[in-house]
């Protein structure tokens, strides 16, 4: 059924496109923006906070302390993490030595088919952000074998750890500098805040399906 349809659709399209000319040269693209390192951090922070994201600037040496404090304040009892990543290693080391905090670290080690209930019932999930976009205020999530996709969407709190040096000026910048067309993975997600909706009377409500809270730790050297 589909094969015949495909042929007929293409024969109509090819017949029609023989009469067309190629359009004139393309108009100029989006304006090129160059921010300083400091400006990028500031802009990202301001824009994401305006979308009700919590942003903390931390030191790469002891960000785990900040995390522990945030988790304590929010009374997070269980944290889903990716054990094979740098972040995962750091968390394991930190909590091995940390005493007195009742936090259950849950490694994402199984396929989702055996793991769904855990993912849907955990308090929070922590992932890396592969980068960010200063201009529009968004994280770039780049899930992988080690760091599965659902960690950043199912748990009610998503914590993302971002290195300050990986913030790009614009989305186009990120695509070009990181060579997205060649390296594109299974899934990339840009995230600018916690889940929200304005479907009822244009009134903003947060946490409709995905995370109710998005917490970003920006790591500075």
């Amino acid at each position: 059924m589909s094969e015949g349809s495909r042929e007929r659709i293409f024969s109509r399209l090819h017949a029609a496109s023989r009469q067309t000319s190629t359009p004139d040269s393309q108009p100029p693209g989006l304006p090129i923006l160059e921010y300083s390192r400091k400006e990028k951090i500031e802009k990202l922070k301001t824009l994401m906070e305006a979308m009700r994201t919590e942003v903390y600037i931390c030191s790469v040496k002891n960000w785990e302390n900040n995390l522990a404090e945030i988790l304590r304040q929010r009374n997070v009892k269980s944290l889903l993490y990716a054990p094979q990543t740098d972040i995962g290693q750091a968390l394991e080391n930190y909590w091995e030595n940390a005493s007195g905090q009742a936090l259950q670290l849950i490694p994402y080690e199984n396929d989702i088919e055996q793991f769904k209930e855990t993912v849907f019932n955990v308090d929070a999930g922590i992932t890396s952000a592969a980068g960010a976009i200063a201009e529009t205020g968004a994280l770039i999530l780049w899930p992988s074998e080690k760091e599965p996709r659902l960690m950043s969407i199912v748990p009610s709190i998503h914590i993302a750890v971002l290195k300050a040096d990986t913030i790009h000026n614009t989305l186009l910048d990120a695509m070009q500098k990181e060579n997205w067309p060649e390296r594109i993975p299974t899934n990339i997600v840009l995230v600018s805040g916690p889940s929200k909706t304005a479907d009822i009377e244009m009134t903003l409500a947060f946490g409709v399906h995905g995370p109710k809270a998005l917490i970003v730790l920006i790591l500075e050297d």
Binding site: R12, L171, H209
Partner: protein, 476 residues
């Protein structure tokens, strides 16, 4: 092609005009959307440049549409995505059903997809014993109330908070009445999370499909789209064949235009780019991804050089929000999937003039839609084209149902009009008689309808022509 019940547009409009609650809700929401768009595009020169760019990118994509679709298909197959081609909505519906049956699945969670509305997929699946659950909050609300979306972007905006509170209370078992938006949202969240957890198959639309990489790009704020495309083991994506763009680098300006025009956002909460099914070693994501590419009249539209620009549409809905007619009648009155200005040109081209050509009459040709369109579709020109073709018996016409409105009375009227205006003597004598007798327009037929809501024009004793002759022209 979908068989629509015959739409009585006049009746729909009368009913909508008398529904003060509907008009109030619609106007309030459209006012907000218009203001938000204006705030995000404050610089006239910049938005003009951006629209020019958006127009060029979509024109570029259309200029090589078959090649890009072939490239997209090839890339998708390489990436492990199964590609299906559907000429009609019925074929697309059966493709969804076949996929569902091949998995023995009886339920489906749906992200927002206007193509699925075009297909009337929910009704089709229901007839075949499959539950299709809308998960976008707006779509969820109207599905509870057995309605169709009233706006491309904010589907339940014709309902206010009180009405929605009532729907939740009445349609969801054991739900106490609440008018608190946060509480209403929490109720929906609880129900839908359970459904996401259990769903075997998820369905979504596509905002842009990138030929270069085979990437499906979806924008959303709620996260239900990410849930539908990541939790279930199977993902079905639906797209109209005009959604393809050439390169990943084409996305940034198009995304800016889409989110800015649609909801006045710099960027949506999520921009989801899906390129492959779950790869070996990955722990989640659907193992099977299907892409259904729908024609449903689009290749016919593509064949006409002027009408082709209809396919540039990125479904931002801003022409609806800015339309004075839409603001006064809401989306349901149009009776077809796509309401507002874009619907006035799209539905008649897809469904034929006889069925949907009447929609093109619902325009004051004020040009608001064209002024805000992010890809510069000349909607008013196409409305005029549809109006003209409704009377045209020209065999060269490419529009299905052209000439359906042609009738003897109108043909004669225009013939007389033509004569009066080509012979100055007849014109002068005719005007003289009219002005002396002061004849008012007779209250019959279309004139009766026209004058029902408008003051009857009265003829001046002297025509402009005569005044100019006597007084000359003042040059200021």
């Amino acid at each position: 092609m979908t068989i629509h019940q015959q739409v009585d547009f006049d009746d729909n409009v009368s009913r909508a005009l008398n529904d003060s609650q509907l008009i109030k809700n619609t106007k309030a929401a459209m006012g907000t959307l218009v203001a938000k768009r204006k705030a995000i595009f404050p610089d006239e020169t910049e938005i003009e440049q951006l629209r020019t760019l958006g127009n060029a990118l979509k024109q570029k994509a259309l200029s090589k549409l078959p090649q890009l679709l072939e490239q997209l298909e090839e890339k998708c197959i390489q990436n492990g995505i199964k590609v299906h081609w559907a000429e009609t909505t019925s074929e697309a519906n059966h493709q969804v059903l076949d996929i569902m049956r091949s998995h023995g699945a009886t339920s489906l969670v749906k992200g927002k997809s206007m193509v699925s509305e075009e297909m009337e997929l929910n009704a089709f699946l229901q007839k075949n014993g499959i539950e299709a659950l809308e998960t976008d909050l707006g779509e969820f609300i109207i599905q509870l109330n057995h309605e169709k979306p009233t706006h491309i972007i904010v589907p339940a905006i014709h309902k206010n908070k009180d009405q929605i509170s009532k729907i939740f209370h009445e349609k969801i078992p054991n739900t106490p009445y609440t008018e608190d938006v946060a509480e209403l949202t929490a109720i929906a969240r609880k129900i839908l999370r359970k459904k996401f957890n259990e769903a075997e198959i998820g369905l979504s639309g596509v905002n842009f499909a990138v030929a270069e990489t085979g990437t499906l790009c979806l924008v959303e704020n709620e996260g239900n789209g990410r849930m539908c495309t990541t939790v279930p083991g199977v993902h079905i994506a639906l797209m109209g064949l005009e959604k393809v763009v050439e390169k990943l680098e084409d996305l940034p300006p198009l995304l800016r235009l889409l989110t800015g025009s649609a909801t006045g956002q710099l960027i949506t909460t999520y921009v989801n780019m899906i390129t492959t099914a779950r790869k070996q070693g990955e722990k989640d994501g659907p193992k099977e991804v299907h892409l259904i590419i729908l024609d449903n009249g689009r290749s016919q539209i593509f064949a006409d050089p002027d009408r082709r620009q209809t396919l540039q549409c990125i479904r931002c809905g801003t022409c609806l929000s800015h339309c004075p007619v839409y603001n006064r009648i809401g989306g349901h009155a149009y009776g077809y999937t796509y309401p507002g200005p874009i619907g006035k040109i799209l539905n008649p081209q897809v469904e034929g003039l006889k069925a949907a050509g009447v929609l093109a009459t619902a325009s004051s040709l004020c040009n608001s839609c064209e002024e805000v369109c992010p890809v510069k579709i000349q909607i008013p020109d196409l409305i005029r084209r549809i109006r003209n073709e409704s009377y045209s018996k020209d065999p060269a016409s490419t529009m299905e149902g052209h000439g359906y409105k042609r009738n003897l009375l109108e043909t004669l009227t225009w013939k007389v009009w033509e004569k009066i205006n080509t012979y100055p003597v007849i014109n002068a004598v005719g005007l003289k008689i009219l002005s002396v007798l002061g004849i008012k327009l007779p209250q019959i037929g279309p004139l009766k309808n026209w004058t029902r809501y408008r003051a009857t024009p009265e003829l001046a004793p002297k025509s402009l022509h005569e005044l100019v002759k006597h007084h000359g022209v003042d040059h200021e």
